[in-house]
Protein backbone atom coordinates (compact mmCIF):
# COMPACT_ATOMS: atom_id res chain seq x y z
CA UNK A 1 0.00 0.00 0.00
CA UNK A 2 1.01 3.53 -0.72
CA UNK A 3 2.68 5.25 2.21
CA UNK A 4 0.41 8.30 2.06
CA UNK A 5 -2.76 6.24 2.16
CA UNK A 6 -1.42 4.06 4.99
CA UNK A 7 -0.64 7.20 7.01
CA UNK A 8 -4.23 8.32 6.73
CA UNK A 9 -5.57 4.93 7.76
CA UNK A 10 -3.24 4.76 10.76
CA UNK A 11 -4.39 8.20 11.80
CA UNK A 12 -8.03 7.16 11.48
CA UNK A 13 -7.51 3.95 13.44
CA UNK A 14 -5.72 5.66 16.32
CA UNK A 15 -8.28 8.45 16.30
CA UNK A 16 -11.21 6.04 16.55
CA UNK A 17 -9.64 3.91 19.23
CA UNK A 18 -8.90 6.50 21.87
CA UNK A 19 -6.56 3.94 23.43
CA UNK A 20 -3.17 2.71 22.25
CA UNK A 21 -3.34 0.20 19.38
CA UNK A 22 -0.83 -2.60 18.83
CA UNK A 23 1.54 -1.99 15.95
CA UNK A 24 1.26 -5.58 14.71
CA UNK A 25 -2.55 -5.32 14.60
CA UNK A 26 -2.27 -2.21 12.47
CA UNK A 27 0.31 -3.87 10.22
CA UNK A 28 -2.01 -6.82 9.84
CA UNK A 29 -4.99 -4.71 8.77
CA UNK A 30 -2.86 -2.73 6.33
CA UNK A 31 -1.16 -5.82 4.97
CA UNK A 32 2.19 -4.25 5.76
CA UNK A 33 5.19 -5.17 7.89
CA UNK A 34 5.69 -3.54 11.27
CA UNK A 35 8.71 -1.74 9.82
CA UNK A 36 6.56 -0.21 7.12
CA UNK A 37 4.05 0.91 9.75
CA UNK A 38 6.86 2.53 11.71
CA UNK A 39 7.99 4.29 8.55
CA UNK A 40 4.46 5.76 8.30
CA UNK A 41 4.66 6.78 11.95
CA UNK A 42 7.88 8.64 11.21
CA UNK A 43 6.18 10.52 8.42
CA UNK A 44 3.18 11.29 10.61
CA UNK A 45 5.53 12.59 13.28
CA UNK A 46 7.03 15.04 10.79
CA UNK A 47 3.52 16.08 9.79
CA UNK A 48 2.27 16.56 13.37
CA UNK A 49 5.39 18.49 14.31
CA UNK A 50 3.99 21.37 12.31
CA UNK A 51 2.45 24.20 14.27
CA UNK A 52 -0.86 23.67 12.54
CA UNK A 53 -1.41 20.38 14.39
CA UNK A 54 -2.48 20.04 18.00
CA UNK A 55 -2.08 16.28 18.12
CA UNK A 56 0.95 14.02 18.16
CA UNK A 57 1.70 10.35 17.73
CA UNK A 58 3.75 8.34 20.19
CA UNK A 59 4.93 4.80 20.71
CA UNK A 60 4.04 3.21 24.05
CA UNK A 61 5.57 -0.25 24.29
CA UNK A 62 4.51 -2.11 21.19
CA UNK A 63 1.55 0.18 20.62
CA UNK A 64 0.84 3.52 19.03
CA UNK A 65 -1.34 6.29 20.31
CA UNK A 66 -2.54 9.75 19.42
CA UNK A 67 -2.69 12.43 22.09
CA UNK A 68 -2.90 16.20 22.21
CA UNK A 69 0.35 18.13 22.39
CA UNK A 70 1.19 19.31 25.91
CA UNK A 71 1.54 22.91 24.77
CA UNK A 72 -2.14 23.20 23.94
CA UNK A 73 -3.21 22.01 27.39
CA UNK A 74 -3.89 25.55 28.65
CA UNK A 75 -6.55 25.93 25.96
CA UNK A 76 -8.06 22.53 26.71
CA UNK A 77 -8.26 23.51 30.34
CA UNK A 78 -9.81 26.86 29.54
CA UNK A 79 -12.57 25.38 27.41
CA UNK A 80 -13.40 22.15 29.26
CA UNK A 81 -12.53 22.68 32.91
CA UNK A 82 -15.47 24.88 33.88
CA UNK A 83 -17.86 22.37 32.31
CA UNK A 84 -16.29 19.33 33.92
CA UNK A 85 -16.21 21.07 37.27
CA UNK A 86 -19.84 22.04 37.23
CA UNK A 87 -20.87 18.61 35.98
CA UNK A 88 -18.88 16.92 38.68
CA UNK A 89 -20.05 19.08 41.49
CA UNK A 90 -23.63 18.73 40.32
CA UNK A 91 -23.21 14.95 40.33
CA UNK A 92 -21.63 15.00 43.78
CA UNK A 93 -24.32 17.28 45.16
CA UNK A 94 -27.14 15.15 43.79
CA UNK A 95 -25.55 11.97 45.08
CA UNK A 96 -24.94 13.42 48.53
CA UNK A 97 -28.53 14.68 48.68
CA UNK A 98 -29.88 11.23 47.86
CA UNK A 99 -27.67 9.57 50.47
CA UNK A 100 -28.61 12.19 53.04
CA UNK A 101 -32.35 11.63 52.72
CA UNK A 102 -32.41 7.94 51.86
CA UNK A 103 -29.62 6.52 53.95
CA UNK A 104 -28.46 3.89 54.18
CA UNK A 105 -28.63 3.31 50.46
CA UNK A 106 -26.81 1.18 47.89
CA UNK A 107 -25.04 2.43 44.79
CA UNK A 108 -27.55 0.78 42.49
CA UNK A 109 -30.44 2.48 44.26
CA UNK A 110 -28.69 5.82 43.88
CA UNK A 111 -28.10 5.11 40.23
CA UNK A 112 -31.69 4.12 39.66
CA UNK A 113 -32.77 7.48 41.09
CA UNK A 114 -30.19 9.55 39.20
CA UNK A 115 -30.36 7.48 36.04
CA UNK A 116 -26.58 7.69 35.56
CA UNK A 117 -23.46 5.96 36.76
CA UNK A 118 -22.51 7.43 40.11
CA UNK A 119 -19.25 5.68 40.84
CA UNK A 120 -17.11 8.77 40.49
CA UNK A 121 -19.40 10.93 42.57
CA UNK A 122 -19.42 8.33 45.36
CA UNK A 123 -15.63 8.15 45.32
CA UNK A 124 -15.37 11.90 45.59
CA UNK A 125 -17.76 11.97 48.54
CA UNK A 126 -15.90 9.10 50.24
CA UNK A 127 -12.59 10.89 49.75
CA UNK A 128 -13.97 14.04 51.29
CA UNK A 129 -15.24 11.96 54.21
CA UNK A 130 -18.82 13.13 53.73
CA UNK A 131 -20.11 9.58 53.41
CA UNK A 132 -18.92 6.19 54.61
CA UNK A 133 -19.61 2.54 54.00
CA UNK A 134 -22.04 1.69 56.74
CA UNK A 135 -22.29 -2.01 56.03
CA UNK A 136 -23.74 -4.30 53.46
CA UNK A 137 -27.29 -5.05 52.48
CA UNK A 138 -28.21 -8.65 53.09
CA UNK A 139 -29.29 -9.44 49.55
CA UNK A 140 -27.49 -11.33 46.79
CA UNK A 141 -24.27 -9.53 45.94
CA UNK A 142 -24.28 -7.92 49.39
CA UNK A 143 -24.04 -4.39 48.05
CA UNK A 144 -22.41 -1.68 50.16
CA UNK A 145 -24.72 0.66 52.06
CA UNK A 146 -23.70 4.28 52.12
CA UNK A 147 -24.56 6.76 54.85
CA UNK A 148 -23.49 10.25 55.78
CA UNK A 149 -20.66 10.70 58.28
CA UNK A 150 -20.65 12.68 61.50
CA UNK A 151 -18.44 15.15 59.67
CA UNK A 152 -21.16 15.63 57.14
CA UNK A 153 -23.82 16.24 59.79
CA UNK A 154 -21.49 18.64 61.53
CA UNK A 155 -20.83 20.37 58.34
CA UNK A 156 -24.49 21.06 57.69
CA UNK A 157 -25.13 21.94 61.30
CA UNK A 158 -27.30 18.93 62.02
CA UNK A 159 -27.39 17.37 65.47
CA UNK A 160 -28.21 13.86 64.46
CA UNK A 161 -29.50 11.77 61.64
CA UNK A 162 -33.04 12.31 62.97
CA UNK A 163 -32.82 16.00 62.14
CA UNK A 164 -32.74 15.14 58.48
CA UNK A 165 -36.15 15.73 57.05
CA UNK A 166 -37.41 17.00 53.77
CA UNK A 167 -40.75 18.26 55.15
Amino acid sequence: MELQKAMGIIEGILFTSGNPVKIDEIANVLNMTCEQVLECVKQLEIEYNKFSHGIMISKVGSSLRLTTKPEIFPYIEKIFKPKVRSQLSKAALETLAIIMFKQPITKSEIESIRGVNSEKALNTLLEKNLIYEKGRLNVPGRPILYATTEDCLDYFGLESIDDISIE
Binding site: I113, G115, V139, G157, I166
Partner: protein, 246 residues
Protein backbone atom coordinates in the same frame (compact mmCIF):
# COMPACT_ATOMS: atom_id res chain seq x y z
CA UNK B 1 -47.54 -14.77 5.75
CA UNK B 2 -45.78 -12.43 3.38
CA UNK B 3 -48.96 -10.43 3.30
CA UNK B 4 -49.00 -10.00 7.07
CA UNK B 5 -45.55 -8.59 7.14
CA UNK B 6 -46.33 -6.22 4.35
CA UNK B 7 -49.48 -4.91 5.99
CA UNK B 8 -47.67 -4.50 9.25
CA UNK B 9 -45.14 -2.20 7.70
CA UNK B 10 -47.64 0.53 6.87
CA UNK B 11 -47.12 3.44 9.19
CA UNK B 12 -50.70 4.54 8.93
CA UNK B 13 -53.57 5.15 6.55
CA UNK B 14 -51.63 7.72 4.50
CA UNK B 15 -48.78 5.32 4.11
CA UNK B 16 -51.18 2.63 2.89
CA UNK B 17 -52.94 5.04 0.54
CA UNK B 18 -49.59 6.07 -0.79
CA UNK B 19 -48.63 2.51 -1.46
CA UNK B 20 -51.84 2.02 -3.45
CA UNK B 21 -51.30 5.26 -5.35
CA UNK B 22 -47.80 4.28 -6.34
CA UNK B 23 -48.74 0.71 -7.14
CA UNK B 24 -51.52 1.80 -9.46
CA UNK B 25 -49.67 4.83 -10.77
CA UNK B 26 -52.54 7.04 -9.74
CA UNK B 27 -52.38 10.77 -10.39
CA UNK B 28 -52.68 12.41 -6.97
CA UNK B 29 -54.28 15.46 -8.57
CA UNK B 30 -57.07 13.35 -10.00
CA UNK B 31 -57.69 10.42 -7.71
CA UNK B 32 -60.14 7.77 -8.98
CA UNK B 33 -61.80 7.71 -5.60
CA UNK B 34 -64.09 4.72 -6.16
CA UNK B 35 -61.18 2.52 -7.20
CA UNK B 36 -58.94 3.69 -4.43
CA UNK B 37 -61.64 3.22 -1.81
CA UNK B 38 -62.30 -0.30 -2.98
CA UNK B 39 -58.64 -1.24 -2.86
CA UNK B 40 -58.18 0.41 0.50
CA UNK B 41 -61.13 -1.48 2.00
CA UNK B 42 -59.75 -4.63 0.49
CA UNK B 43 -56.53 -4.19 2.43
CA UNK B 44 -58.40 -3.41 5.63
CA UNK B 45 -60.35 -6.64 5.22
CA UNK B 46 -57.17 -8.59 4.70
CA UNK B 47 -55.71 -7.11 7.86
CA UNK B 48 -58.74 -7.98 9.95
CA UNK B 49 -58.98 -11.42 8.38
CA UNK B 50 -55.48 -12.08 9.54
CA UNK B 51 -56.55 -10.87 12.95
CA UNK B 52 -53.86 -8.28 13.13
CA UNK B 53 -54.39 -5.28 15.29
CA UNK B 54 -55.85 -2.52 13.27
CA UNK B 55 -55.21 1.01 14.41
CA UNK B 56 -58.42 3.01 14.59
CA UNK B 57 -56.88 5.58 12.24
CA UNK B 58 -57.25 3.10 9.38
CA UNK B 59 -60.99 2.90 9.99
CA UNK B 60 -61.32 6.66 10.18
CA UNK B 61 -59.67 6.90 6.79
CA UNK B 62 -62.02 4.24 5.40
CA UNK B 63 -64.96 6.35 6.54
CA UNK B 64 -63.42 9.45 5.00
CA UNK B 65 -62.93 7.69 1.69
CA UNK B 66 -66.50 6.43 1.67
CA UNK B 67 -67.78 9.86 2.47
CA UNK B 68 -65.79 11.41 -0.40
CA UNK B 69 -67.01 8.69 -2.69
CA UNK B 70 -70.62 9.36 -1.81
CA UNK B 71 -70.18 13.11 -2.26
CA UNK B 72 -68.77 12.48 -5.70
CA UNK B 73 -71.88 10.47 -6.59
CA UNK B 74 -74.25 13.28 -5.64
CA UNK B 75 -75.60 15.35 -8.49
CA UNK B 76 -73.65 18.54 -8.85
CA UNK B 77 -76.67 20.82 -8.27
CA UNK B 78 -78.58 19.61 -5.23
CA UNK B 79 -81.73 21.25 -3.89
CA UNK B 80 -81.07 24.94 -4.07
CA UNK B 81 -83.86 26.09 -1.85
CA UNK B 82 -82.23 24.78 1.28
CA UNK B 83 -79.41 27.27 1.46
CA UNK B 84 -78.60 30.49 -0.27
CA UNK B 85 -77.56 30.00 -3.85
CA UNK B 86 -74.17 31.51 -3.23
CA UNK B 87 -73.26 29.18 -0.43
CA UNK B 88 -74.29 26.15 -2.40
CA UNK B 89 -72.34 27.32 -5.42
CA UNK B 90 -69.25 27.71 -3.29
CA UNK B 91 -69.73 24.35 -1.73
CA UNK B 92 -70.04 22.70 -5.09
CA UNK B 93 -66.95 24.34 -6.45
CA UNK B 94 -64.79 22.47 -4.01
CA UNK B 95 -63.78 19.03 -5.17
CA UNK B 96 -64.60 16.62 -2.31
CA UNK B 97 -61.22 15.04 -2.94
CA UNK B 98 -59.24 18.22 -2.47
CA UNK B 99 -58.67 17.96 1.27
CA UNK B 100 -57.45 14.41 0.92
CA UNK B 101 -55.27 15.44 -2.00
CA UNK B 102 -53.61 18.20 0.03
CA UNK B 103 -53.02 15.91 2.95
CA UNK B 104 -51.53 13.25 0.70
CA UNK B 105 -49.26 15.79 -0.96
CA UNK B 106 -48.04 17.06 2.38
CA UNK B 107 -47.49 13.53 3.67
CA UNK B 108 -45.61 12.71 0.46
CA UNK B 109 -43.25 15.61 1.06
CA UNK B 110 -42.27 14.37 4.51
CA UNK B 111 -42.07 10.79 3.39
CA UNK B 112 -39.53 11.88 0.81
CA UNK B 113 -37.60 13.88 3.39
CA UNK B 114 -37.52 10.89 5.67
CA UNK B 115 -35.98 8.86 2.86
CA UNK B 116 -33.27 11.51 2.45
CA UNK B 117 -32.71 11.45 6.19
CA UNK B 118 -32.33 7.68 6.10
CA UNK B 119 -29.62 8.09 3.47
CA UNK B 120 -27.80 10.64 5.63
CA UNK B 121 -28.19 8.37 8.64
CA UNK B 122 -26.62 5.51 6.71
CA UNK B 123 -23.74 7.71 5.55
CA UNK B 124 -22.97 8.52 9.16
CA UNK B 125 -22.53 4.84 9.91
CA UNK B 126 -19.28 4.93 7.98
CA UNK B 127 -17.61 7.63 10.00
CA UNK B 128 -16.49 7.55 13.59
CA UNK B 129 -16.01 9.99 16.39
CA UNK B 130 -13.34 9.72 18.93
CA UNK B 131 -14.43 8.63 22.42
CA UNK B 132 -14.34 11.77 24.59
CA UNK B 133 -11.30 12.09 26.79
CA UNK B 134 -12.21 11.54 30.45
CA UNK B 135 -11.27 14.93 31.76
CA UNK B 136 -13.04 14.54 35.09
CA UNK B 137 -10.08 12.70 36.57
CA UNK B 138 -7.93 15.70 35.87
CA UNK B 139 -9.89 18.08 38.03
CA UNK B 140 -11.86 15.76 40.29
CA UNK B 141 -10.17 16.91 43.49
CA UNK B 142 -11.14 20.50 42.91
CA UNK B 143 -14.86 20.11 43.41
CA UNK B 144 -16.10 23.04 45.45
CA UNK B 145 -18.42 21.36 47.93
CA UNK B 146 -17.53 23.91 50.54
CA UNK B 147 -20.13 26.43 49.43
CA UNK B 148 -23.06 24.04 49.71
CA UNK B 149 -25.74 24.50 52.36
CA UNK B 150 -28.32 22.09 53.71
CA UNK B 151 -30.95 23.98 51.72
CA UNK B 152 -28.98 23.25 48.52
CA UNK B 153 -29.07 19.58 49.41
CA UNK B 154 -32.83 19.66 49.93
CA UNK B 155 -33.34 21.37 46.61
CA UNK B 156 -31.03 18.94 44.83
CA UNK B 157 -32.91 16.03 46.38
CA UNK B 158 -36.33 17.36 45.41
CA UNK B 159 -35.24 18.05 41.88
CA UNK B 160 -33.57 14.70 41.35
CA UNK B 161 -36.60 12.87 42.74
CA UNK B 162 -38.99 14.72 40.46
CA UNK B 163 -36.90 14.34 37.33
CA UNK B 164 -38.36 12.22 34.59
CA UNK B 165 -36.19 9.25 33.86
CA UNK B 166 -37.37 7.44 30.75
CA UNK B 167 -34.58 4.88 30.93
CA UNK B 168 -35.76 3.68 34.31
CA UNK B 169 -37.53 0.37 34.10
CA UNK B 170 -41.14 0.58 35.14
CA UNK B 171 -41.05 -2.88 36.62
CA UNK B 172 -38.43 -1.76 39.05
CA UNK B 173 -40.62 0.98 40.45
CA UNK B 174 -43.58 -1.26 41.04
CA UNK B 175 -41.49 -4.07 42.41
CA UNK B 176 -39.64 -2.11 45.01
CA UNK B 177 -41.23 1.25 45.78
CA UNK B 178 -39.50 1.56 49.11
CA UNK B 179 -36.11 -0.04 49.32
CA UNK B 180 -36.06 -2.82 51.85
CA UNK B 181 -32.86 -1.39 53.24
CA UNK B 182 -34.61 1.85 54.08
CA UNK B 183 -37.48 0.05 55.75
CA UNK B 184 -35.02 -2.01 57.77
CA UNK B 185 -33.34 1.16 59.00
CA UNK B 186 -36.67 2.84 59.73
CA UNK B 187 -37.93 -0.01 61.86
CA UNK B 188 -34.61 -0.42 63.56
CA UNK B 189 -34.53 3.24 64.49
CA UNK B 190 -38.11 3.21 65.73
CA UNK B 191 -37.46 0.19 67.92
CA UNK B 192 -34.24 1.59 69.26
CA UNK B 193 -36.25 4.56 70.45
CA UNK B 194 -39.36 2.81 71.72
CA UNK B 195 -37.84 -0.61 72.51
CA UNK B 196 -41.26 -2.28 71.96
CA UNK B 197 -43.93 -1.86 69.33
CA UNK B 198 -46.80 -3.73 67.68
CA UNK B 199 -46.15 -4.70 64.09
CA UNK B 200 -49.51 -3.19 63.18
CA UNK B 201 -48.27 0.21 64.36
CA UNK B 202 -45.66 0.21 61.62
CA UNK B 203 -48.29 1.06 59.01
CA UNK B 204 -51.66 2.71 58.77
CA UNK B 205 -54.76 2.57 56.57
CA UNK B 206 -53.11 4.61 53.85
CA UNK B 207 -50.12 2.30 53.54
CA UNK B 208 -50.12 0.28 50.33
CA UNK B 209 -50.19 -3.50 50.45
CA UNK B 210 -46.76 -3.55 48.84
CA UNK B 211 -45.34 -1.36 51.54
CA UNK B 212 -46.83 -3.53 54.28
CA UNK B 213 -45.15 -6.51 52.68
CA UNK B 214 -41.87 -4.62 52.54
CA UNK B 215 -42.35 -3.75 56.20
CA UNK B 216 -42.90 -7.39 57.05
CA UNK B 217 -39.83 -8.43 55.07
CA UNK B 218 -37.83 -5.77 56.88
CA UNK B 219 -38.97 -7.24 60.21
CA UNK B 220 -37.89 -10.70 59.12
CA UNK B 221 -34.58 -9.24 58.03
CA UNK B 222 -34.04 -7.60 61.42
CA UNK B 223 -34.93 -10.80 63.25
CA UNK B 224 -32.44 -12.64 61.10
CA UNK B 225 -29.83 -9.99 61.82
CA UNK B 226 -30.58 -10.57 65.52
CA UNK B 227 -31.34 -6.90 66.02
CA UNK B 228 -34.92 -7.39 67.18
CA UNK B 229 -37.16 -10.11 68.58
CA UNK B 230 -40.64 -10.88 67.37
CA UNK B 231 -43.42 -12.67 69.30
CA UNK B 232 -46.92 -13.68 68.43
CA UNK B 233 -49.23 -14.92 71.18
CA UNK B 234 -51.68 -16.69 68.94
CA UNK B 235 -52.35 -17.24 65.26
CA UNK B 236 -53.41 -13.99 63.53
CA UNK B 237 -52.68 -12.19 66.81
CA UNK B 238 -50.61 -9.10 67.20
CA UNK B 239 -46.91 -9.43 66.48
CA UNK B 240 -44.88 -7.76 69.18
CA UNK B 241 -41.49 -6.47 68.22
CA UNK B 242 -38.82 -5.72 70.79
CA UNK B 243 -35.40 -4.16 70.51
CA UNK B 244 -32.56 -6.56 71.17
CA UNK B 245 -29.62 -5.21 73.13
CA UNK B 246 -26.33 -6.17 71.53
Amino acid sequence: MALNIKINTFEGPFDLLFHLIEKNQIDIYDIPIADLTEQYLDYIHKITENQLDLASEFLVMAATLLSIKSKMLLPSKPKQEVASELAVAEDNDVDPRSELMHKLLEYKKFKEISILLRKKEEEQEFIFKRPPEDLSLMWADEIPLSEITFEDLKLAFKSVMSKKKPEEKVSKITKDPIPLSRKVMEIYRTLKQKSKIFFSKLYDKKTSKLEIITTFLAVLELVKMKRINAFQEKQFGEIVLTYREV
